[in-house]
Symmetry: C2
């Protein structure tokens, strides 16, 4: 059961989240990303220093919760991080998940499929990497790339795109029904914020390695990507795997929000250490 502390905090958290967690839409109608302010800070205390402290405190809490999650073994947790280049996916992995034990937390950074992967359906490689009981899996990009890149570049028809939305919803429903908790975060930044971050990568020799000329071609397709994101958000936010839009122009706020939602989600599961084996009662180890 959630602790009383969690109960206390649940209401403000739910309120802060309300505008950013997308409801399951029956119609699958596209959402307009422009309706969401990437500079908003719904989870902020107002002080950046305090927010940073809160992220640190949350990381410690999450580490403890993950330990019970691992022992409990009734659930699996899949965290999907999506967002344009520089939106902060790597930063989130480091800022939110780095404190948890690698024993029960894995990360996959999805790239373009290999030849062997392309020989199978696009969810084949995804299914293989699903977390097992008690595990936390963090996806840096995901199967949602398969309804972004091919859509923006016109490699698949609108009918094929709709078919993929359905396939993804069905797939995630299977996962959910078999014990996987799915949290999908869209890291949402502004066009101007991306410009700044790309410029930083160009100017800073310690960040050069993160920069690729491909990033500039993707940047030219910004409106198309925003549209493709809007469409997938409307079509694949489901009861069993809702999308949360994370305003991410502020990195601190981004980490604070994601860590808070994670903490809240884990606390809501009523995690517990397994009951001790009754045969252990009174056992003397000699």
């Amino acid at each position: 059961m959630p602790s009383s502390r969690a109960d206390e905090e649940a209401r403000p958290l739910a309120r802060a989240l309300a505008d950013w967690r997308l409801p399951a839409t029956k119609t699958g109608k596209p959402r307009a990303l422009a309706d969401f302010d990437p500079a908003a800070k719904p989870f902020s205390s107002g002080s950046k220093a305090q927010d940073k402290e809160a992220v640190d405190a949350l990381a410690v809490e999450l580490d403890a919760l993950q330990d019970i999650f691992f022992a409990d073994k009734r659930f699996k947790l899949l965290v999907v991080l999506q967002g344009t280049d520089t939106a902060g996916k790597d930063g989130t992995v480091r800022g939110v998940f780095a404190r948890m034990s690698p024993l029960g937390v894995r990360t996959v950074g999805w790239k373009a499929p290999t030849e062997a992967e392309r020989a199978h359906d696009y969810l084949w490689r995804i299914h293989r990497e699903m977390p097992g009981a008690g595990e936390v899996m963090v996806f840096n990009r995901s199967h949602y790339e398969d309804v972004l890149v091919p859509v923006v570049n016109g490699w698949i028809t609108p009918e094929q795109t709709q078919q993929r939305y359905r396939q993804i919803n069905d797939f995630e429903r299977l996962l959910s029904e078999t014990g996987t908790v799915i949290l999908k975060f869209l890291l949402h930044i502004s066009f101007e914020e991306q410009r700044k971050r790309l410029q930083e990568r160009v100017d800073d020799p310690t960040k050069h390695w993160k920069f690729s000329l491909d990033d500039l071609s993707a940047r030219k397709q910004w409106p198309d990507y925003q549209k493709a994101y809007g469409a997938l958000l409307g079509a694949t936010s489901t009861e069993w795997a809702p999308w949360t839009i994370v305003p991410s122009d502020s990195k601190t706020h981004r980490n604070l929000m994601i860590a808070s939602v994670l903490r809240d989600t884990l606390q809501g599961l009523g995690l517990r250490y397994p009951d001790p084996n009754p045969q252990l009662k009174g056992l003397k180890v000699e």
Copy 2:
């Protein structure tokens, strides 16, 4: 395109198959296995010797077709063999698939899940073994065991069973929509035929290794298994992955029927070797 020989043969084949290939039922209503005669021989010429020759001839044809299938790479083929103990799953693998090149044909014999497999959803291990482009995969037992053993033993509720039917249909639809041709065969034998075959295994020292006392407990649950099969046949015969009931009291007929359906299916795909690379035209290898 199918050869003219195939055209000639297509009509009688379709007629022979009509009573045994289950249509996609919208209602998902259970089928009664008792309505299907396990001793029937819809594909037989009437002469066992001729039928055996036909199986041999088909094996050669299938080998040639598989070679084009492998080169063509537009499709994947999944063959599911289900049936009670002694129904002839191993015999089918040997009798129908042994002549094809192991390069493009793989077989998986599914056993009870391991601990690592049980940590994931029941379709996780199945998805991993799906054929890639140009490959033929033969399943000796399959994910359908997950709607048989737990159903017969009451480990899952009727609601969970229905949920699994839906999950399986969704999963197979994804496979089909992404290029996998799915053929599902139920090897159907009579209670008396099973008795004979089990007795043979007990009496014949070369067959002892195939016998397990568990087979006798499963035999005691015969009516329950027949009922569970009837239910899954009604619920999971779909447009994209229909079930074919194969009357299997005769081993020769069983092989003949499965090989014929396979040949017909592969011929119907319009397989072709890929077009030569235009750069090869006039190329002199020196």
